[in-house]
Structures are given as C-alpha cells and as structure tokens.
Point group: C2
Chain length 160, copies 2
C-alpha cells in the first residue's frame, strides 16, 4: 500500500503540501487504514509560531492536504477501487475550518486521523483530528470537491 498522494497522476503531483514532484514542498503523506486516513509529520524548526509551538498555517496545511486524500480514498472505496493501490483522484478544497484547541508543541511528531463524514458523488466532508505528543491540539472540518475539469489547465491569468 502506497501513500495516497504518491498515487496522484503526475500532472497533479506538484502540490506544495503533498506533491511528490514538488522539491520544495512538505511531502505530506496519508495512508488509508480501514476507513480512516492517517498521516504523520515532523515539523521543521522553522515551522514555529511562538517559541515552542507550531505555526498555525502549517497545521491548516496538513489538515487541508490530508483531508483531500481522505476524500479521495473514501470515494475510491465507495466506487470499488483500492486506495493505496489504484490511482488517487484529485479533490480540491471548497472550505476549511480549523479549531485550534490548544497550542501544538513544536518537537513531537504530529499525527492526523480523518474520516469522510458525508460522501457525495462530487462533494465530500472530512473531519480531521490532529495530535502532537499526548495532546489533541486541533480539529478540522474540510469540504472537498472533485477537481473541476476547468482546473486541469492553467488559466490565462497565470502568466501575469
């Protein structure tokens, strides 16, 4: 079983958060484990907010990319495909809600666990729990939508 993000098609594997083809990126990797997606991530020293704590933007980023993979895996399973083996379809974020329950200590490995709580054909809602060390530090609720065909090509605006 491979990480879900490693099975995104090459054309959609450049994401700063989770793309295997982004040399500068975070390389978030999520695995499908019986109806749940799990990711682990070790923040770098520069991912600091205040001294001793993880930057909230990183937490939002981890939740975002992990949730997109979760939405894809849950959709695959519903359609009879095998997450972690078959190609992962690309979802994009419609909305992201993060509740920061307590400051996330910078040092311990971060673990994310998530499930699809609503699974439509086009739209999937994913709930994520983020822990660091012994603490539940954040929760996310993410609305994922299947990548619109129009996003498969850059728009003219990108050349500005």
């Amino acid at each position: 079983m491979k990480p879900l993000q490693d099975l995104y098609p090459d054309d959609f594997a450049h994401c700063y958060g989770c793309g295997r083809l982004n040399a500068e990126g975070l390389h978030i990797k999520s695995e499908w484990q019986g109806g749940e997606a799990v990711a682990r991530f070790r923040p770098a020293a520069e991912h600091i907010a205040l001294p001793g704590f993880v930057y909230g933007g990183l937490i939002a980023s981890l939740i975002d990319c992990h949730a997109m993979a979760t939405a894809a895996a849950a959709s695959m399973e519903k359609a009879g495909a095998t997450p972690g083996v078959d190609p992962t379809p690309r979802f994009v974020t419609a909305s992201l809600q993060v509740d920061y329950l307590r400051p996330t200590p910078l040092g311990p490995e971060i673990e994310l666990r998530s499930r699809a709580t609503e699974l439509g054909e086009r739209k999937v809602i994913v709930e994520v729990v983020l822990r660091a060390g012994d603490f539940e530090c954040a929760r996310g609720r993410v609305v994922a939508v299947r990548m619109p065909a129009a996003m498969a090509q850059p728009t003219p605006d990108t050349s500005r």
Copy 2:
C-alpha cells in the same frame, strides 16, 4: 508607519508566516489603513496546488497571519495606541475558516484586506477578503485571542 508584524516584540517575531526573525519564513506584512489592514504577497513558484493555481495551505497561512495583525491593530486603536508605530500585541488563532471561492491563479500578486467585525477585550473576530488579479478568490473568518501568558514560555513538551 511600519508593517504591524515588524512591531511584534522580538520574543514573538519568529513566526513562519510573519516573523521578521524567521529566515525561512514567508514574511507576511500587513499595514493598517484607516480601520482596515492590507497585505500584499507574491507567491513563489513552489506555492503551487495544481498547475496554474496557488496552494490552499498558503492561502490559509496568509489569512491567518494577516488576521492576527488585524486583531492586534484594531485592539490597539480601541486602546488609544497607534498601529504601525507602537508595539503590536500578539494574538493567537482560536479558529480559522477559509472559503475558497474560486481557484487562486499563481502569478498575480495576492492582496488581503480585513477588518475586525467583533472587538472584545480578549477575543476579536476578523473577516478577510483575498484577491488575486481581478478576482476575489477566498474569504476568511478568523477568531483571534490575546496571547495567553502561558504561551510566553515553551512548555516541557517542546524538547521531545
């Protein structure tokens, strides 16, 4: 008038998103303009989501740090201090809601504009509009709280 983040006390100027003392960070800078905070940011090539579009985690990060500065500036003004001149007090994020209205093109400068819509002593709610080129691409609603005293020192957990 200086950017609000450049007036955070040295001990709280390490944030990956907006800390002037973080060599690896994004250096988000927000200016106070008559009741509104404005920030401009040019994403790097690696801040890609799908080809041609900006990574949603970056958008969440920009909204987060910009909203904390907005909360601080609005609170300062209410207390009779001058945002952009006096030291900026540090707020932290309690919750972050981002609605991705349309894909954000990668290329044009991003502009964020925000206001405090609820201004309590401890808790401030900030609403943010993010534009790229001619498009309104995202909206954020962020709950900021004045930094708890307990966050002023690293907890023992950070050494793990």
